[in-house]
């Protein structure tokens, strides 16, 4: 009860001190928010067209006509430029540009690309080389090119199916063939059937009924084939475009931010606020020389730690909701699960706050604590944003940033809340507990040294 009362009094004192330290609050809360917003803009790769080197090794390629689709390597490149900025380079120039960072990736059209496309015997392959030092950008480029290749494949599939349907008509009705580079004249099933009817009549007139009967069987077969080919047309059309996606642009003036960008902004914002605020508040107690007074039974190390961790968690939650509110109000992204964000933000704030308290308990003065907190928190928060990397996840988990980033992304994009979200919250609670206990031990030693 006494500890609760002491914690409540110190919590109120800290709020009052923060209210009177506008410069400090601006640094501790304003700075992380600004950094978070800048990071969100930087990570929201959806608006930026990556620059990609384009290397064409299929130098002697011809143009291939597929129905109304006329394709050459240049046509392919022109279509890709709807999604990315292509810079046409030689292989050596492209490798150099990728190494220098002047381009984000190298897209190579290998020799025989058009031939493969024309033959239809094996699918033509494009080669994409990305920069391993920019995994976030590489992922965005892969997504862009996969989308572009998918749209082109769909157009080609439609053209091919149209050609196949024309061929079906030719087989049925006859005419001039012009597909996959071949040409000629086809008689057609209908004309064949009419010719056979005349042959059948002539055989009967010549007194050859047995032969005429065999021709009749052939006519029945042709009629049957024609009917079955008619059935193939709707099936082929369905294959050409099994699912169609209709894309509409959002309202003008509202820039889309990726989930990665928002999660990154939250992790950096909350991480820095939690670490810096907790570290500063705790080290300020020492700078004010009050620890020896408090340590005489007025407020123990445990009370001071939980009180400041709670304050950091509350501050982080407010900052998190502010950032989410800004995203919800200024972008077309829908932020849902507002209630579930509460434990996620609180636990993330608690973990980063406990980490900051350990820094504050170990540092000798506030400036050192702030510098150390910033130097430790910023890289760990950035590491947490490297997608799909387990090592980065566990490295950044030291301050709770990795689990927080995954929880935030999950809450933003996952259609359903999965068990991994709750597991992540559990990890954050454990991180907070471990750092809280460590900070309590360190502070206890300082108070009674």
């Amino acid at each position: 009860m006494k500890a609760l009362r002491a914690g409540r009094l110190l919590f109120g004192k800290d709020l009052r001190v923060l209210g009177r330290s506008r410069g400090l609050v601006a640094v501790l809360i304003g700075y992380p928010i600004v950094i978070a917003i800048l990071l969100a803009i930087a990570l929201s790769g959806g608006d930026r067209r990556p620059s990609i080197a384009f290397v064409n090794l299929d130098a002697g390629a011809r143009t291939v006509q597929v129905g109304e689709e006329r394709l050459s390597v240049d046509d392919y490149a022109d279509r890709l430029e709807d999604d990315v900025d292509l810079v046409r380079l030689t292989p050596a120039q492209a490798d150099e540009a990728l190494a220098d960072g002047r381009v984000s990736a190298v897209l190579t059209v290998p020799e025989g690309f058009i031939t493969d496309l024309q033959s239809g015997l094996k699918p033509p392959v494009l080669q994409l080389a990305t920069n391993p030092r920019s995994p976030i950008e590489a992922q965005a480029i892969e997504r862009n090119l996969e989308s572009a290749v998918f749209r082109l494949n769909q157009a080609l599939a439609t053209a091919y199916v149209t050609q196949v349907l024309n061929l079906v008509d030719l087989i049925q009705e006859g005419g001039t063939v012009g597909i996959f580079g071949r040409s000629g004249t086809l008689l057609g099933l209908e004309e064949s059937e009419r010719n056979l009817a005349q042959v059948q009549k002539a055989l009967i007139a010549d007194g050859k009924p047995a032969l005429a009967k065999r021709v009749a069987a052939l006519r029945d077969y042709i009629t049957g084939v024609g009917g079955n080919l008619e059935l193939a047309k709707p099936a082929a059309q369905a294959i050409a475009s099994p699912i169609r996606l209709e894309v509409r642009e959002g309202p003008p003036g509202r820039e889309p931010l990726s989930a990665l960008g928002i999660a990154g902004a939250l992790v950096v914002g909350i991480g820095l606020v939690g670490v810096l605020l907790a570290a500063a508040l705790l080290s300020a107690e020492r700078e004010d020389h009050v620890l020896s007074r408090l340590g005489r039974g007025l407020a123990g190390a445990g009370t001071i730690i939980w009180q400041k961790a709670l304050l950091a968690a509350v501050a982080c939650t407010i900052v998190g909701y502010v950032l989410l509110g800004v995203v919800a109000l200024t972008t077309s992204i829908t932020i849902g699960r507002w209630l579930l964000w509460l434990p996620a933000l609180l636990l993330a704030g608690l973990a980063s706050g406990a980490f900051g308290l350990l820094v504050g308990a170990l540092a000798r003065e506030t400036r050192t604590a702030l510098l150390a907190g910033l130097m430790l928190a910023l890289p760990l928060a950035v590491i947490a944003l490297i997608p799909g990397n387990d090592i980065a996840y566990w490295v950044s988990a030291f301050a709770g940033f990795g689990p927080a980033a995954r929880i935030f992304q999950g809450l933003l994009v996952d259609p359903e809340v999965t068990s991994s979200t709750y597991v992540g919250m559990g990890i954050l609670a454990v991180v907070a507990l471990v750092y809280g206990v460590a900070a309590r031990v360190a502070l206890g030693r300082r108070m009674h040294a």
């Binding site: 009094l9 001190v17 004010d288 009050v290 020896s292 007074r293 005489r296 108070m447 009674h448």
Partner: protein
């Protein structure tokens, strides 16, 4: 001398292999003013922080009259307060932490007793050194202590501020029936403002006697090589 208050037996304090305090035996009684003096590094602050409960002794016991620990007021050398809070807010906070039933009333009473009325709503960080030391002392009184411990309380004060502080402390001891123990490096200050003087040298108690019995010459003789 008044009723016994505290008896310290065999108090030692070591930091690794360094012995800051050799076994020291001390007694304190209500209503007495005790000066703890000695050269730098003699163990004065270590002794006071052990008596204040800031740190535990490596060995030895503190035996309080009546069996249960009395309230102790602790005035560290550097003011231990929140500079961004006002005088009144500091006193209310520490009165609350000391368990006062009515922290605002306790704070108002302390402001009156410490003559801090003109500075009650001024931020502590903006107070003069002497006023800040009065606040530092008033905070220590928030728990109505029976033993008041001060670590070199006049070290940063001007002569007139020192005079006022000693007057107030003498009044406090008389009116509150408390024991006052202060550390100082000045044998003159110890002799003038204490009833009893303790001399520490290299962590050992080398003198425990009436203030009048110690002058500069005998003090230097006690220190021996330390001097």
């Amino acid at each position: 001398m008044g009723a016994p208050l505290l008896e310290a037996r065999g108090i030692t304090r070591s930091y690794g292999s360094f012995e800051a305090l050799a076994p020291v035996d001390l007694t304190f009684a209500r209503g007495e003013r005790v000066a703890l003096t000695g050269p730098n590094g003699a163990g004065k602050t270590t002794m006071l922080t052990i008596l204040a409960g800031v740190q535990a002794p490596s060995a030895g016991t503190l035996q309080w009259a009546g069996g249960s620990p009395a309230k102790v007021g602790w005035v560290p050398q550097r003011p231990a307060l929140y500079p961004r809070l006002t005088t009144r807010e500091n006193l209310r906070l520490f009165a609350g932490l000391e368990g006062s039933d009515d922290p605002p009333a306790t704070a108002d009473e302390l402001i009156r007793r410490a003559d801090l009325g003109d500075f009650a709503d001024r931020r502590a960080g903006a107070l003069s050194t002497g006023t800040m030391q009065r606040l530092n002392l008033a905070i220590a009184l928030a728990g109505a202590p029976s033993l008041l411990l001060l670590d070199e309380p006049t070290g940063t004060l001007s002569p007139d501020q020192r005079v006022r502080l000693w007057q107030w402390l003498a009044d406090l001891v008389r009116s509150e029936d408390m024991a006052l123990v202060f550390s100082t490096q000045s044998i003159e200050e110890a002799a003038r403002h204490a009833d009893r003087v303790l001399v520490l040298a290299r962590g050992r108690l080398v003198h425990d006697g009436p203030a009048g019995a110690l002058d500069e010459e005998s003090f230097m003789a006690l220190l021996g090589d330390e001097a």
